[in-house]
Symmetry: C2
Subunit: 319 residues, 2 copies
């Protein structure tokens, strides 16, 4: 009976886990060789990487291994979507303590496989090594389908700003868990398994989005990147930031401002994009503000709400 | 004065380190957006990932940060070369303790940049996160230039087996460091900064290599993968395994068999490939054996030396 990763060994673990990952039409050569080979139909490939570390990005007592598998895939695929691309492939490196139960790896792999199924990407390779700290490093690849990449530097004054996906639920979920609560369940679930708006990045690109990014550190903080790269400012309309009932309920429990959670909360992996003013937005995209000329000087906050600087600070790395 | 990564913060660290990485002709969009965009001229991309963990794959008292930067790139690029591909791009995720000196990150980035220059790949993206255990996760991408990938499953009885690069020096260097020795310097240097035979993977593919891999766990162990995938066996010729003087000197100090180090030592990241018998091998490739029909049954060792089973065991992960 193999109960820990140490008993199973690296090759045993790889064989066991790999069996869970089906190929797709994008995969020419999957796991098992020195490297994988993936289709890149338009002669370009989009690539991004993220590392998740236990205690920093997840806790084993707050998230199941399946949750962590889902989340690791989702947050990387969101970065591919944010370029206007379709995810094609993922590579997953795992640093694992030798006493990690094999069942943990099985469940993690199941979460990865499920989220890949939802996003359309295939696991094509990876690495497993021993580490005292459980660490998941994911690289995602994508295909632009002949379109230009939607970068952060194309927003122009007069563009509308819109978001697809959820805002604030994950931050509320984390704050609830920190207080020993697991209700409202919708918020906690969003923290454990964020659901980026798959395929909306590609759709935004088709609609002519001028700039786009994935909201991982908080709406205000991340919009600051578009402002800096594009040389613009953004004014959000508070009336458009409508907290859903589960977020209002969580905010009440937390004695927090629900709109503040929407402005500062990260990790929902919603997409924010700017579009030409005359774009007809589909219902998945909610208009929340306008791009304005860059403001300079001491009063020059890049992101304002109803014309006033926002207090909302996002996630501070190494903070 | 910013002396630690904690003082600098994630974005400061990224900005500081990114400045060191020049683009290449393969890079359409480098670091700074949600994802990078890289050329994939033949509509396919080769991809591999490896994780290095402090205490397991390197020690800060045995390797400089520059060494570790070199090694992280080299071992990933070797996997790209082993498919017969040319490296194009790398993504690097770093898990760092907050008390890590900024100078460490600077030197690490310098090593990465130097090794990228040697290998031809460009750093196009990455991630930095906080971790109690210093962790480096690298993904490398490559281009096959219209050729078929050289997999592990194409070796046929009658093929010749050849290697490019070094064998045994890195293992000897590690054993020396474990005994508090740093001479013969050539072996220790090879452990700290392995030098894969860049561009020889692509050349082997052009020469018609039928199977190829990167030797990371030890010659005998890794050749076992070719045997298993191709349904063949391999007989090595001990007369062709000639230890260089620095390896003989190290073996004497270690009271070890120098040929044993060549058979079992990993991490030099030499390439092993099989070729049709009539292939004219360039001098960078040394013929060391022959592919034979698969041997089955109890006496059926996949890899033999002069017809006899080898005792050489390679690197055992999680061992």
């Amino acid at each position: 009976m193999l109960s820990t990763i140490g008993d199973l060994g690296e090759f045993g673990l790889i064989e066991r886990v790999t069996a869970r990952f089906p190929g797709t039409d994008d995969v020419i050569l999957g796991p098992g060789d020195d490297a994988a080979v993936i289709k890149a139909p338009d002669q370009r490939v989009v690539a991004t990487t993220d590392m998740l570390v236990e205690g920093r990005h997840f806790r084993r007592d707050w998230s199941t291994p399946r949750d962590i598998g889902h989340k690791a895939v989702a947050q990387n695929v969101a970065d591919i979507e944010a370029m206007g691309a379709r995810p094609t492939a993922l590579l997953i490196a795992l640093g694992v303590p030798t006493d990690l139960p094999v069942a943990w790896a099985d469940e993690f792999a199941a979460g990865v496989a499920d989220e890949c199924g939802a996003s359309g990407g295939a696991v094509v390779g990876g690495d497993t090594v021993r580490s005292e700290v459980l660490t998941v490093s994911v690289t995602a690849l994508g295909d632009l389908g002949g379109r230009a990449a939607v970068r952060r530097d194309g927003a122009r004054p007069g563009d509308v700003l819109a978001v697809a996906g959820r805002l604030g639920l994950s931050a509320a979920g984390l704050a609830l868990l920190e207080r020993g609560l697991d209700d409202p369940a919708a918020c906690v679930r969003e923290h454990r398994r964020p659901r980026p708006p798959y395929s909306e990045g590609e759709r935004a690109a088709r609609l002519g989005a001028t700039a786009m990014l994935d909201i991982s550190d908080g709406l205000v903080q991340d919009l600051g990147h578009i402002c800096a790269a594009s040389g613009v400012a953004v004014d959000l309309e508070s009336a458009a930031l409508v907290p859903p009932p589960e977020l209002r309920a969580a905010a009440e429990l937390l004695a927090a401002d629900p709109v503040g959670l929407m402005l500062a909360g990260g990790e929902d992996h919603a997409l924010a994009a700017t579009f030409p003013a005359d774009t007809e937005l589909p219902e998945e995209w909610t208009r929340i503000g306008t791009v304005t000329p860059e403001r300079t000087g001491a009063a020059g906050a890049a992101v304002t709400v109803d014309g006033r600087p926002s207090e909302a600070a996002g996630w501070r790395h190494f903070g």
